[in-house]
C-alpha cells in the first residue's frame, strides 16, 4: 500500500483546500457559482485505471509540478468534450454550441488551466509552507485514459504497479460545465508531501512552548 487511511485523509484535506482555490478562480472567470465535491482519493492497481478514467474524448491540460519538491508529479485538468465548448463560450462570451474548436478555444483552455492549476498549487504549497509552480501547460484533445497511462509510463513513475488517484470534480450547474482536476504525484513526491503533512499535524498538536 502506498498510503494508509490517515495519510489519505490528510492528502484529501490538502487537495480540498487546493481545489477550493481553483474553484474560486473558475467562479470568478465564469461569474457563476461553482460546486465542488470532496476529493476522491484511491490507491488503485494500474490494471484498474480504466475503471476510473475513460477513453471518451476530452480536453486535457497537463502540467508538471515544479518548485520545492522532487520532479515527476503532474496535475491534469480534464474537461469532458460536451463541457469544452460551453466552458470556452462562457469565457469568451459566445453562444454557438454546435461548432468546431478553434485556436481561440485552445488558448482559452490553456489560460483557464494555467489560472486554475496555479491557484490549486499555490494553496496546497502555502499550507505546506513551500513553493510549487506549474510548468508551461500542454493541451491535447484526446482520450483521458491514454493521457493518464502515458504519464504513468513516464520517467518519474517508471516501474509502478499501484498509483494514487486523486480526483476532484468542479461543476457549474448554470453553464452545465464539468471539470475534473487530477493530481498524479509519483512516489518520491507523494512521500515528501505526506511527510510534510505529518510534520505539520505534529507541530499543530503540540502545545506552544512556555519558556
Amino acid at each position: 500500500m502506498l498510503l494508509n487511511s490517515q495519510q489519505c485523509d490528510a492528502l484529501r484535506e490538502l487537495g480540498n483546500i487546493g481545489a477550493a482555490h481553483a474553484a474560486t478562480t473558475l467562479s470568478t472567470m465564469l461569474m457563476t457559482n461553482i460546486e465542488m465535491d470532496v476529493p476522491d482519493i484511491k490507491v488503485i492497481d494500474i490494471s484498474q485505471v480504466h475503471q476510473y478514467v475513460s477513453d471518451e474524448l476530452a480536453a486535457l491540460v497537463l502540467f508538471e509540478i515544479t518548485g520545492e519538491v522532487s520532479g515527476g508529479g503532474y496535475v491534469l485538468l480534464h474537461i469532458p468534450k460536451n463541457s469544452v465548448i460551453r466552458l470556452t463560450n462562457a469565457m469568451l462570451g459566445m453562444t454557438e454550441q454546435d461548432r468546431e474548436l478553434t485556436e481561440m478555444d485552445e488558448s482559452a483552455l490553456l489560460e483557464i488551466g494555467n489560472i486554475m492549476v496555479s491557484a490549486f498549487l499555490d494553496a496546497t504549497a502555502g499550507l505546506l509552507n513551500i513553493i510549487m509552480l506549474p510548468s508551461p501547460p500542454s493541451l491535447t484533445i484526446d482520450m483521458p485514459h491514454a493521457a493518464v497511462q502515458s504519464i504513468l509510463a513516464s520517467e518519474g513513475f517508471m516501474d509502478i504497479n499501484e498509483v494514487v488517484l486523486f480526483r476532484t470534480e468542479l461543476r457549474s450547474d448554470q453553464h452545465k460545465i464539468i471539470n475534473n482536476l487530477f493530481l498524479l504525484p509519483n512516489e518520491p513526491m507523494l512521500d515528501e508531501i505526506v511527510t510534510m503533512l505529518e510534520n505539520l499535524l505534529t507541530t499543530a498538536s503540540e502545545s506552544p512552548g512556555t519558556s
Partner: protein, 162 residues
C-alpha cells in the same frame, strides 16, 4: 461512420495485463502503451497484452506489462493451448507520444513499439498489421473467433481494421 458495437462478452485487458482465449478482448485508451495481439491462424484463438514498458529487466511478476515478457508469455500460453509459433501472427497498435516537451518523456511509446517488434522478430513471428506512433490515443478490440479481426479506434473517432 459505423459505430463499434461493444460486445458484452468483451474482456477488458487493463494496463500490464494479458489474456489468451477465444472471447473478444479490448484495451482502452492506449497512449504510449501497446496493444499487442498474437493470433493463431487456426482455432479462432489468440491473446492480447497491454504493454506499458519496453524492458522487464528480469522481472517476472507482471509478464503482460513489458514488451519482452509479454511476447514470451503470449507465445508460451498459445503453445500450451496447442498452437504452433509458425501459425501465429502479430498485430500491434499504440506507442503514441501524447505530451511532447515534458522532462519525463523519453519517447517511451517509440521504445515500446521497437521493443515489441524486436521481441516478435526474435520469435520469428510475422507482423500482420500495425498502427503505431503519432500523438493520438487509441482503443483496440480484438476478435479471435472472427479471423483475428482487430479494430483500432483513434481519439478523433477514425476506425481502422488491422
Amino acid at each position: 461512420m459505423s459505430k463499434e458495437q461493444p460486445d458484452p462478452q468483451t474482456v477488458i485487458i487493463g494496463i500490464g495485463e494479458f489474456l489468451v482465449g477465444k472471447l473478444p478482448m479490448s484495451s482502452i485508451g492506449l497512449g504510449s502503451c501497446i496493444g499487442l495481439v498474437l493470433h493463431s491462424r487456426t482455432g479462432g484463438i489468440g491473446g492480447m497484452a497491454h504493454v506499458m514498458l519496453p524492458d522487464s529487466q528480469g522481472r517476472e511478476d507482471r509478464p503482460g506489462k513489458f514488451a519482452d515478457t509479454a511476447v514470451e508469455i503470449l507465445v508460451s500460453e498459445l503453445s500450451a493451448a496447442g498452437c504452433r509459433p509458425s501459425q501465429m501472427v502479430a498485430k500491434i497498435a499504440g506507442g503514441a507520444s501524447m505530451f511532447k516537451g515534458f522532462s519525463g518523456n523519453l519517447n517511451i511509446g517509440e521504445r515500446n513499439t521497437e521493443a515489441v517488434l524486436v521481441a516478435l522478430k526474435g520469435k520469428n513471428i510475422e507482423v500482420a498489421g500495425k498502427d503505431v506512433g503519432g500523438t493520438m490515443g487509441r482503443t483496440v478490440t480484438y476478435y479471435p473467433a472472427l479471423g483475428g479481426r482487430m479494430v483500432v479506434r483513434s481519439a478523433d473517432g477514425t476506425l481502422k481494421e488491422l
